[in-house]
Amino acid sequence: MSRRFTPKVVSANHLIEGDAVWLTEDDRWTRDIAQAELIEDEAVAQLRLLFAKSQPAVVVGPDLVDAVKGADGGPVPTHFREAFRTHGPTNYLHGKRAEGLTPRGKIPGNETLSNV
């Protein structure tokens, strides 16, 4: 018996900037995971991943990543590694937060921020 499918988002790094991006329902790449498409069906997930892989001149390393539906309806990553990708490093205010994006998912011990 195969394991139950858990919802996913398609994530990758942008080819030029190298930052984290996610695939939207209308085939764009967004830097804000809240805008991403949450995929709840395994077959759809595979199709979306194939679509992402057909864009090697836009993104690098597309992959399916676990997420759940947040209170606002947008996806929230479940693993802290993926939460980091929505957040940027914790030692400086660089990356996603510096761009005004709201991190999603649990960053353990967020109070450790310094040098901001």
Partner: protein, 556 residues
């Protein structure tokens, strides 16, 4: 100091030109990522969690002021205004954009620097004692040999596709500051009974998933035999090293699985064959390199003003007590500039700080800077009379933290704040430990203590050789920190012993605090270091401190 010759210059420029067209072809879609990845890695360009990362080699940790200023310029123009110095004497830029990287590489080439062989299964940046040519305890400057090895291994056709990456470290001093026993090959410059210069050759060391200390494969190798001998080792490894399993591909496993004796027999047999093909051209090149490493014109001047200033200024005195190291020339000192201000990111320097250090090196340091594997910057040659001025300038740039070799002088790898391979963060743990000990005001009382933190099993933060080693793991989706004790990266090298269960992020700082304060209770006297106390008492009392089990602590 060594300057690129025409061949180096042409080679590096040609590589940049090639990479520029490769980047163009990647961006216009004619190269896939699978095709491009090995090409970018050959030029030190990684893709991390939030951005690309460019790793630039600082061969044997030596920089001149113009090079340091160029790093500052690159940090400001193409990155976020800072750079991260690593345990392999490299500098990493955390935010370059793909399309800018060829320009960055050209800017590096302008000052004789590059990012070649900072990745891939080849001979990596050769590292050396950061006190080279300055330390009072040194037999000979290891850097000319490191430069010879760099020239020989760069683009070496036979050794571009080894089973795995290959790291060589060299020291010219019996006090090992280059962690030679944790390298694939460690070289120690020694003299034989007749007084002739040569090397003790160690092989098969490495940290990572299976930490091992290098073993002596030759206790005395005459100086002129070095390249053929290294070629014999690499040749034997190239053939015998495992290519079926990435985790068993390093030379430490090859030596372990074959046994040192069998491996040595293979090396010696190859060496016997190869030796005659080396007719001495390499020794002529080495002599030319050595000439370029001639010592600076040291000066003779009184040090009374320094002594007087030191006597009258307690803060300065505290800094001189821990941040200076004995120089081989009278009246001089080796200055370690701490990149470990309490609460800051270990190993990071801003562009402004880089320029301050470059200016100081130019004005007071005979134009030399070093990067240590402990992620600090060294001014190897400063006359003591200049120390008050150097210190004052460092203070203004927030670079005068007096903590070299103390609790807060922590090695930490980038960890999950940047690294795509990480299983947990390292930087915030280092920041919190340093901040905590600053509050406790005990680090000078505690004395020499090396804490080293890695954010995954790859051990870039050298945790296995930390007196206190901390390894960040992912336990069911939560950061968890495992402690090892008693590790040592020097001539008395040891791999740290794993203690019991790991600690969650909120508890690891308290655990380290208990360990250190517990040590203060059990040390014989103020002279007995943490490592010595651990060696004398064994792990039990320290486990007691860690896990707060009073019985164990009492039993100690």
């Amino acid at each position: 100091m060594y300057k690129y010759n025409e061949f180096d210059e042409a080679f590096v420029r040609e590589r940049v030109r090639q990479f520029r067209t490769q980047v163009e072809r990647r961006i216009d879609g004619s190269l896939t990522e699978e095709e491009f990845r090995p090409l970018r890695l050959m030029n030190g360009l990684y893709l991390q969690l939030h951005a690309y990362m460019l790793r630039v080699a600082i061969p044997y940790g030596t920089l001149n002021p113009d090079q340091m200023r160029q790093l500052a310029m690159i940090a400001e123009r193409w990155d976020r205004g800072y750079g991260h110095f690593t345990t392999r004497q490299n500098i990493q830029f955390n935010w370059p954009r793909l399309k800018d990287v060829p320009d960055i590489l050209d800017a590096l080439a302008d000052v004789g620097m590059h990012a070649i062989q900072t990745s891939g299964n080849c001979v990596r940046n050769v590292t050396a004692d950061h006190f080279a040519a300055a330390a009072a305890d040194e037999i000979a400057d290891p850097r000319p040999v490191a430069e010879l090895l760099r020239e020989w291994s760069t683009d070496h056709p036979e050794f571009q596709f080894l089973p795995r990456k290959f790291k060589i470290a060299i020291t010219g001093s019996p006090n090992d500051r280059a962690v030679t026993r944790a390298h694939d090959i460690g070289l120690r410059m020694v003299r034989n009974e007749a007084g002739e210069p040569g090397f003790e050759v160690l092989v098969g060391g490495g940290l990572g998933r299976t930490p091992m200390l290098a073993q002596v494969i030759r206790d005395f190798l005459p100086k002129a035999d070095l390249l053929p001998y290294i070629e014999a080792i690499l040749g034997a490894y190239n053939l015998k090293g495992r290519r079926d399993n990435k985790y068993k591909a390093r030379i430490k496993i090859t030596v372990f699985e074959n046994g040192l004796d069998a491996f040595k027999a293979d090396v010696e047999e190859r060496f016997a064959r190869l030796r005659s093909q080396w007719t001495g051209a390499d020794q002529e090149i080495l002599a030319e390199i050595e000439a370029q490493f001639a010592p600076p014109a040291f000066r003779n001047a009184p040090v009374d003003a320094y002594e007087a200033f030191r006597a009258g200024n307690g803060v300065f005195r505290a800094w001189t007590d821990v941040n200076l190291h004995p120089h081989k020339v009278d009246g001089y000192a080796i200055v370690s500039i701490s990149l470990k201000k309490h609460g800051a990111t270990p190993g990071d320097a801003t562009a402004d700080q880089m320029r301050v250090m470059a200016d100081l090196a130019e004005r007071y340091g005979h134009g030399e800077l070093r990067i240590s594997h402990e992620q600090n910057v060294i001014l190897p040659h400063v006359h003591k009379s200049d120390l008050p001025a150097v210190w004052a300038a460092l203070r203004e740039a927030e670079l005068a933290t007096a903590n070299i070799g103390l609790v807060s002088d922590i090695i930490a790898c980038p960890g999950m704040d940047y690294c795509a391979l990480a299983t947990a963060r390292s930087i915030p743990i280092a920041q919190q430990i340093a901040t905590r000990f600053e509050e406790l005001k005990v680090e000078h009382e505690v004395g020499p203590l090396k804490i080293k933190i890695s954010g995954c099993i790859n051990a870039c933060g050298h945790h296995h050789v930390g007196h206190i080693g901390i390894l960040g793991l992912d336990r069911a989706g939560v950061e968890n920190y495992q402690v090892t004790l008693g590790g040592d990266g020097t001539e008395t090298a040891a791999i740290g012993e794993k203690m019991g269960p790991g600690f969650p992020a909120e508890e690891i700082v308290g655990a380290v605090e208990r360990l250190v304060l517990g040590y203060l209770e059990v040390r014989r006297d103020a002279e007995e270091t943490f490592l010595e106390a651990f060696r004398r008492l064994g792990p039990e009392p320290f486990k007691g401190f860690l896990y707060g089990t009073e019985e164990t602590a009492d039993a100690a």
